[in-house]
Symmetry: C2
Subunit: 174 residues, 2 copies
């Protein structure tokens, strides 16, 4: 593997900082003038977080795909279809060859729910253009993803303010 080969980076674990560290990578890429895109599998399109406000101001594509996800076990077929539609967008971005980094935020959830096929996802990632980095975040990264990855970090919760009843805050989680 040459230094020119892009990395597959996974942020997993039950702690904070998985998406946040992906945002940090996005910022470093942007700082170098490199084209980066972030696809968010679980964030509703209606949510306006600090990261979305920032991305807009940076001129970086950040696409919340979660709109339509109901997590409605009464309608698993619809959830599966929505996940497939989200993946189609991600796949198109990866195969476009236009990005130095593609961030697949919270991709592990539709994988673990069985809505997406890890085999197909792995293949698309493995066949990406030389030099493209792929960053994947989410709890419980499946073993196939860990095997595929070059860099895996587990974010472990040591202490969390939610445990003491502190709500999510603007500019921290939001």
């Amino acid at each position: 593997m040459s230094a020119k080969q892009g990395l597959v980076i996974v942020h997993t674990g039950d702690g904070k900082g998985k998406t946040t560290a992906a945002l940090g990578l996005l910022l470093r890429q942007w700082g170098h003038g490199l084209p980066v895109v972030m696809l968010q599998f679980m964030k509703s399109r209606n949510l306006r977080c600090g990261e979305h406000l920032a991305a807009e101001r940076l001129g970086v594509e950040m696409i919340p795909l979660g709109d339509g996800f109901t997590w409605d076990s009464a309608n698993l077929e619809r959830d599966r279809r929505t996940a497939q539609e989200c993946w189609a967008v991600a796949k198109e971005k990866i195969q476009s060859g236009q990005y130095s980094m593609v961030i697949l935020d919270e991709l592990t959830y539709p994988l673990n729910y069985g809505w997406l096929d890890i085999g197909e996802v792995s293949e698309v990632i493995r066949n990406r253009q030389l030099g493209m980095h792929v960053v994947i975040t989410g709890r419980n990264a499946p073993p196939e993803l860990i095997a595929l990855a070059d860099l895996v970090t587990e974010m472990r919760k040591i202490k969390h303010p939610f445990d003491r009843g502190i709500a999510a805050q603007k500019g921290i989680e939001l």
Copy 2:
């Protein structure tokens, strides 16, 4: 502790993503138009990483303080003095009351080397203005810091490309 109280956030552990996740918090703050400053205790002023290029373009203060650090065990007094000078800058920023978030990147190292007094550092952080978040990164966060913190995440290395001889890359580590 009210929701208005700022958090003390610690990113520690041997894995990647400690500074990177701090950059993600910086980006969320900036996205909300909140004033944030990042002080880097170990980065040389001569280093031009993606985060510095980004910060410049964002108009965010990011101050590498590490210039002058030699890690020269032959001159411990000089190292200690430099660390104290760095801390004086950080303390001034915290006490200025001008920031929603102060990031003390890699502060654990001068603490662990005994160049800074954890008691004094804790006191300054504890007495900060209401609503100011303080983010501290670095390996081996001392127990006093963990005790003081509201949110502690350990970044654990599961797999790392350096293990396979892949060098640091622009827009990832740099």
